[in-house]
């Protein structure tokens, strides 16, 4: 058995694979690096893993689960949300493509722009209320507002495009 994945680390795509050797031993490749691990499933969804030859010095309990199109893994006291190449930017508000998407399901409290407006990268364009808190959303780029789909008072689903900003050609930062 062998499984292969690709994750984005520091802006670069890294090929990662796990190949079953025998018993609880696996060959793991992370980019150019090769490792051998003992890996045993625990009853609670966790996996105990230890580098072969260092079982008594370095062993870890890891928990992993998909989160949308990313994969969350918790090991050595830290949580990592690993993006796949198709989805470099995870969740989060205004990406840098100029489209403001609702970071989560909520209600639009205010829309502070209209098509044709010239806006700054850090200018709040939409105020969204979600989980009882207000969030100001920015486009992340300077430019001109192309379209506004958000309506004041409307409910929007997570990921819904609210405002599209076209980057300024001769933008000055």
């Amino acid at each position: 058995m062998k499984i292969s994945r690709e994750y984005v680390r520091g802006g670069k795509t890294v090929a990662v694979s796990a190949e079953h050797l025998e018993g609880d031993r696996w060959r793991v490749r992370v980019g150019e690096q090769s490792y051998e691990y003992h890996a045993v499933a625990l009853g609670d969804g966790g996996v105990r893993l230890a580098p072969v030859g260092q079982e008594f010095d370095r062993s870890f309990v890891a928990y992993g689960a998909p989160a949308g199109k990313e994969f969350m893994v918790r090991v050595n006291g830290r949580t990592h949300t690993l993006a796949t190449p198709a989805n470099k930017r995870g969740g989060g508000g205004g990406g840098s493509d100029g489209t403001i998407r609702a970071p989560m399901t909520g209600t639009v409290l205010d829309v502070m722009c209209k098509p044709g407006d010239t806006v700054a990268a850090d200018q709040a364009l939409v105020v969204l209320s979600a989980m009882k808190m207000e969030h100001k959303l920015t486009a992340g780029i300077a430019g001109v507002v192309l379209s506004v789909a958000a309506k004041k008072g409307g409910t929007v689903d997570q990921g819904a495009a609210l405002v599209v900003v076209e980057p300024k050609k001769e933008a000055k930062e």
Binding site: G91, M104, Q158
Partner: protein, 513 residues
């Protein structure tokens, strides 16, 4: 006289972890519990924990947990004798407390008259002044935006703008520059209107640097009020508490006594007769200023329970049924023993501006071990709805001393996993492991001044993390599900929260590939 059990059946007008915790307390007393729930909460942990459940309908708080008529009708139809409101929602709504009483039921909380005298920040401030409790310079009246700006000029910047009806940091803002006041007032009014249906604002001088110290009170219907000592809740982000502990490292016996006496005097003055909390700011010179009274059980009540040995929900039920504190607490030594710390686990991303998240919890692993208490409202497979508060659970530890409690909390957070949506678990651990926290150098503005605690480490994941990710998918059956990238990519928004879509890969539609 203490009635046992104090009631036969009690309705819990709340959801999530606090409703689970109350149901547990009721069961221990031999009382049947009735849960209420919205449509989307039909399988929420609190519904599963209760003996009975009543659907309120709707999804938003306004059409479910905040609907007084529906909640009282549910109590009537289920044969409940009393209603415990938990915290948030209707817990500090005097009109609700009165409606409960008018319906011939018992409200497990203070009488509505006491609640009104302390509920609004303005009213509470006036009562505190009358009771001889020190208060912060400011105004008790909403004199309109222009008037409030005048007051701010008089008392000096920085100021705190607060919702008159508020609590929990909603509608509350720190304003440092005069020219930002108008916009802050507008935003706070809007938040307050949405949260409490009341957009009145008050304004006070911001006391800096300060610690947040609060006194837990319990009163009965016979005029007794007892202080169960202080909690320190100085670690806050945007005026919401993050970590709470008891006792405070800087409150000595003399100060504890003085603050306790002030809180009790205020409570007695208004005829307070259930659990409540008087909140204070404490400056570096040992001066304390009254902030407000929360007329309900608080989120952080477990730390008081762990150091005093009392069960606040049990006490609430007994005093609501007419029990006397002199009987209930007879022979009990209430002095704080050891040290307790609570961490609020929330579905939010401190690394990303504290953005809250909703969605499917694919793997929940809660810590266990000596001195560890989990008050949780979630489980593996629960889909966190976008309609309510982002708190998932509370991790509370007890140890004989503060240093050991810090170690215990750090390890427990290390052993904690809530996967599928972003949480603040790593953030909590960064704070607990921080030198300032370990040395109890706490400030209400410490997180604002130390943004690196929220931002987290910048290094990319080490090879171990990537190896762990593939090994989890290779070895642990649940982790591997539906992660064959692209198989459920339907081109829609990122991180979809649709349960059927997300679950399709592993259980419900097995064999349909």
């Amino acid at each position: 006289m203490v009635k046992n059990p104090p009631f036969r059946r009690v309705l819990i007008a709340n959801r999530g972890e606090i409703a689970v915790r109350i149901a547990r307390g009721l069961r221990e007393l031999g009382i049947e519990s009735v849960a209420v729930h919205s449509e989307i909460d039909a399988r929420c942990a609190h519904v599963l924990a209760a003996d009975h459940a009543v659907l309120l309908g709707g999804n938003t708080a306004a059409e479910s947990y905040l609907d007084i008529g529906k909640v009282i009708a549910a109590a009537k139809s289920s044969g409940a004798e009393a209603i415990h409101p938990g915290y948030g929602f209707l817990s500090e709504n005097a009109a609700f407390a009165r409606a409960v009483r008018d319906a011939g039921l018992v409200f497990v909380g203070p009488n509505p008259e006491a609640m009104e005298r302390l509920g609004g920040k303005k009213a509470a401030r006036e009562e505190a002044i009358a009771a001889g409790v020190p208060v912060i310079p400011g105004t008790e009246q909403d004199v309109g935006d222009a008037g409030l700006i005048e007051v701010a000029k008089k008392i000096g910047m920085p100021v705190m703008v607060k919702a008159s009806a508020g609590g929990g940091g909603r509608g509350m803002r720190l304003v440092e520059r005069e020219q930002d006041l108008a916009e802050a007032l507008m935003a706070s009014r809007r938040e307050a209107k949405a949260s409490f249906g009341d957009d009145r604002m008050i304004l006070e001088r911001a006391v800096f640097p300060a610690r947040h110290i609060e006194i837990q009170l319990i009163g009965d219907r016979h005029g007794n009020v007892v202080s169960l000592h202080e909690r320190e809740c100085s670690v806050q982000r945007r005026n919401q508490k993050v970590l709470e502990e008891a006792p405070s490292a800087v409150v000595d016996e003399a100060l504890r006594q003085r603050m306790g006496e002030c809180a009790v005097a205020l409570a007695k003055r208004v005829g307070y007769d259930n659990a409540g909390t008087a909140e204070f700011l404490l400056d570096d010179h040992g001066n304390f200023y009254f902030l407000e009274v929360n007329t309900r059980l608080q989120v952080e009540h477990p730390v008081t329970e762990l150091v005093t040995g009392v069960d606040l929900v049990h006490l609430q039920m007994h005093v609501a049924a007419g029990g006397k504190l002199t009987d209930l607490l007879a022979g009990k030594d209430l002095r704080p023993r050891g040290h307790a710390i609570e961490a609020r686990i929330c579905a939010e991303s401190p690394e990303n501006g504290y953005l809250p998240a909703a969605g499917l919890l694919r793997l929940v692993r809660e810590a266990e071990g000596p001195g560890i208490r989990i008050d949780s409202g979630v489980y593996t497979g629960w889909e966190v709805p976008p309609f309510y508060d982002s708190m998932l659970a509370k991790l509370i530890v007890w140890a004989p001393d503060r240093a050991t409690a810090c170690q215990r909390l750090s390890q427990a957070l290390r052993d904690t996993a809530y996967l599928g949506i972003p949480t603040n678990v790593d953030f909590l651990r960064r704070i607990v492991d921080d030198t300032a926290f370990r040395h109890a150098r706490l400030r209400t503005d410490m997180l604002r001044l130390r943004p690196e605690l929220a931002d987290g480490p910048k290094e990319p994941p080490e090879d171990l993390a990537l190896a762990a990710a593939v090994l989890c998918q290779a070895v642990a059956p649940r982790a591997g599900s539906s992660s064959s990238n692209g198989s459920n990519g339907n081109g829609g928004g990122q991180g979809s929260t649709a349960p059927w879509q997300d679950l399709a890969g592993f259980r419900l539609f097995e064999g349909t590939r």
